[in-house]
Amino acid sequence: MRAMIVKDLRMIARERTIMSAMAILIFIASFSSIITFGLLVLYKPDFIALSGVKVGVAGECPVLKMSGADVRYQSLEDGLNDFYRGEIDALIYLPRENTSSVNFVTVYLPKDEITGIIASSKVKEILKEYQKRLRERNGIPPDHGFRFYDDEFRRSEIKEGSSITFRFIYAVLIPLLIITTAIISGGLAIDLISEEYETKTYEIIISTPLSSTEFISSKISVSLLISSVLSAIWIALLYLNVGIKNPALLFIYSISLSMIFSSLGSISSLIFRDRERSQLVFSLISVSFVTASFSSSSMMAGVAARISAGSYYTATEFLAYPFAGAVLLVSAIVLSKRLEIMD
């Protein structure tokens, strides 16, 4: 069995398969960081810059005009002329203000320009201030009145955008890395097994003292070894760069999921005995797993997020995955024995 493991690892090293697997994980990581950047630009445009944009207000709206506009216009026409000339970056238009009822405001922003996104943030601030003033005039409390402090009782400024970044790293990126590593492990198990079937080398292997259970165990071991290396690398990098919590538990958790997927891959290969059908069935199962994993806090992604963020999770939530992995692993080994007898 050891010789079988060494042979497969040597082939993997020779083809630099592990390098491709690393490339996949790097893509996943960069993919997520770009999404985070995009979200920050769109939803917190002041993340990139806010100074330098000019917002105009047009119409008969004295309170709105006092709420932080840079330029004030009497008519929409004057405002639009300046907007098209580039004198202002956004125009707020309210034909006639009604301080005791709802005001329907139209905002003109430039299409397909980054200025439009940045200006929308300033527009939002102006209109929030306007809403506050109108509420005060009508005897309505303008805000909730809660104030923020640090743990030394000093007033604290809450930075906008940090939650998007945090939730993306812990609730999307880390679960995606774990799931991708597990899928890589499952795919590898299928390829290692079906290649032996399709090139008829399985029959030669089985005619040696190596049993079918040892054959399957060695293939699963190789895929788990590869996923261990991958998990160790990305967990170490995240630990050093982001400071994730519980790296050892996260490693065990990642290996447990790899065990689930490589056992599923092995079962699929043992049953269908060709790569085409095994990979197809495995892909369909993986799609269900991946989509379901983000839908509940107790599913794979939710538990991974809370382990790595140092948040609260129960022992059952954590242990369910190593247990499921062990059950599936034993099932794969038992199935290989049964199939050997049937052959």
Binding site: S20, L42, L80, Y84, D112, K159, E198, S288, G310, S311
Partner: protein, 549 residues
């Protein structure tokens, strides 16, 4: 007629027995049901990611795991020890100065604002929401003029007609807008709904720039099912290669291109059927927008299947390529509102789904690079189907360089291939731009410039290496220059070239010619020396050009 197509269908029927087909249908229905339930349920992996505590309040929010503490002092102690992320008491919220606690503070602020909005609505009704916003995005071209012309009266009238008057807006609508603003839905909800969005009003708290992100899941519905058909196709080709069937077929009158096209056809049609289903459900022309992506993905899978050394390599390379193409297709839509987003045909799919207007010409421009890359890859795959190449143990990357080099059989072909490789260079440079966003400005700038030089000189050097003559240098530099200039005519790519200096007229040609000439001269003894010198010249030019602009 089409004998291989018939053989492929027969083989498929033999493998896919009735029992397996029934199993596959059950599994597919299960996968669709699980995915539908998951998407309807919404994104919940961040549930309980923060820990909050209070000596007075009970916080009921998905992102908080909340518990009550005995006293103010014990809450502060827990916060200081890092056991909780946010502590709330009276009208005061306490956080630590680290990312997790500050993030929890931001979420708590949002939670308080939402609760406050609900309280306002319950106590004051729609009087508490006196501002409703409608956004309109206007295209403008700012030109430096001494006496700028005013906007025409017709244009002003058109804009004014679109403004809804106070009287036209029904009271129920106001109520609906306000209710929607205060009842925040979890991210991901309704993403599989088929309702088309219409222009709507926002309160100042909910107003944000338009985003196609909520439609992204729908884009995956058009793309992901087709990946199964592609997987079957690549497995079938790989099996033919591994079991030496291809070598026998190559000895028959059927050409390699015929083999590829007949092999691909049934799976390509299956992919189109998969894309047609969501197109019909969403009443969209989605199938048109994903067609260029299918051409590229199928051809890339064909190349990998023919040139991989084992199933392991096949699986991993296909995963890498699929991920790269998916990122190229999906990520630009995140930057909707910026010209860069128009680089991908999927952005137009999402715009179509969001009922946004766009020019069909812009979609065609976004599709051209994918089509040309796909056609080039089909050609290269067909050229790589020789017994020597299939039996060779070289890596797929080396085989790509070898077949590209070998395919440039004469200067005319080298010219055409050089033009085609520009699309591959742009594709790879797109990832360089994104990489540069996540590192500090100065190193990112240098890496970007160096990366562009490495990629472009690689393609040119590969085409020049087999025939290092001045004619070949002209052909390759000319082909590359012409394709690059043609691309820059399109608005989206000219914006793209702001960071990739290609906007000047003759300088880029001189650069391509000089770098290629240096490679041709210096690569006689060792190609590495020539390549390094060409990259150095290209990098120096890029660096200077960008520094000057």
């Amino acid at each position: 007629m089409l004998p291989l197509l018939k053989a492929e269908l027969k083989k498929s029927a033999r493998k896919m027995t009735t029992g397996f087909r029934i199993f596959l249908v059950i599994l597919s229905i299960g996968a669709i049901a699980v995915s539908y339930i998951s998407f309807s349920h919404g994104f919940s992996s961040d549930s309980g990611i923060y820990i909050s505590a209070s000596d007075q309040y009970i916080i009921q929010s998905r992102v908080f795991h909340h518990f009550t503490v005995e006293s103010f002092q014990s809450g502060i102690e827990l916060l200081k020890n890092g056991e909780i992320d946010v502590f709330i008491s009276e009208r005061e919220v306490f956080v630590r100065d680290d990312l997790k606690s500050m993030s929890a503070g931001e979420e708590m602020k949002r939670f308080l604002e939402n609760e406050f909005s609900k309280w306002l609505y319950d106590n004051y009704g729609d009087r508490a929401f006196p501002v409703l916003i409608r956004a309109e995005y206007l295209k403008r071209e700012i030109k430096p003029e001494f006496t700028p012309k005013p906007v025409s009266i017709e244009e002003i009238k058109k804009i004014q007609e679109r403004i809804p008057s106070q009287e036209k807006i029904e009271p129920e609508m106001r109520e609906d807008v306000i209710k929607r603003a205060i009842e925040q839905k979890p991210l991901g909800e309704e993403v599989v709904g088929i309702k088309r969005e219409t222009a709507e009003f926002f309160t100042p708290d909910t107003f944000s720039p338009p985003s196609l992100i909520s439609k992204m899941v729908q884009a995956f519905l058009f793309l992901i099912p087709s990946f199964f058909a592609m997987q079957l196709f690549s497995s079938s080709v790989a099996e033919d290669v591994r079991l030496k069937r291809v070598e026998i077929l190559l000895a028959s009158p059927i050409g390699s291109t015929d083999y590829l096209l007949q092999k691909m056809l049934p799976y390509f049609i299956l992919s189109l059927i998969f894309a047609l289903i969501p197109s019909l459900i969403f009443a969209s022309k989605g199938i048109v927008y994903v067609l260029p992506a299918f051409v590229l993905l199928f051809s890339a899978q064909a190349f990998i299947a023919v040139n991989s050394r084992s199933y392991r390599e096949l699986t991993f390379l296909i995963l890498v390529v699929n991920l790269l193409v998916l990122v190229y297709l999906v990520i630009p839509s995140i930057f909707s509102g910026l010209p860069l987003s128009d680089i991908s045909p999927v952005t137009f799919l999402l715009r179509d789904l969001a009922n946004e207007e766009f020019s069909p010409g812009d979609f065609v421009i976004s599709a051209i690079p994918l089509f040309f890359m796909g056609l080039t890859l089909i050609y290269l795959t067909s050229e790589s189907m020789t017994v020597e190449n299939i039996q060779s143990y070289s890596s797929p990357f080396k085989k790509f360089a070898d077949v590209l080099s070998f395919s440039a059989k004469n200067d005319a072909l080298a010219f055409v291939l050089a033009a085609m490789t520009v699309f591959f260079a742009f594709f790879l440079e797109f990832f360089l731009i994104f990489f540069s966003l996540s590192v500090p400005l100065l190193p990112s700038f240098a890496v970007l410039m160096l990366g562009v030089a490495v990629i472009e000189e690689f393609f040119k050097s590969v085409l020049i290496y087999p025939e290092r003559t001045i004619r070949r240098v002209f052909a390759v530099a000319g082909g590359f220059f012409l394709a690059e200039k043609s691309l820059l005519f399109a608005k989206v790519f000219s914006d793209y070239s702001i960071v990739l200096p290609g906007q000047f007229l003759l300088f880029p040609f001189l650069l391509h010619f000089t770098a290629s000439f240096i490679f041709a001269v210096l690569s006689g003894k060792d190609w590495r020396i020539g390549y390094a010198a060409a990259v150095a010249v290209h990098f120096a030019y890029n660096f200077m050009a960008v520094s000057m602009t």
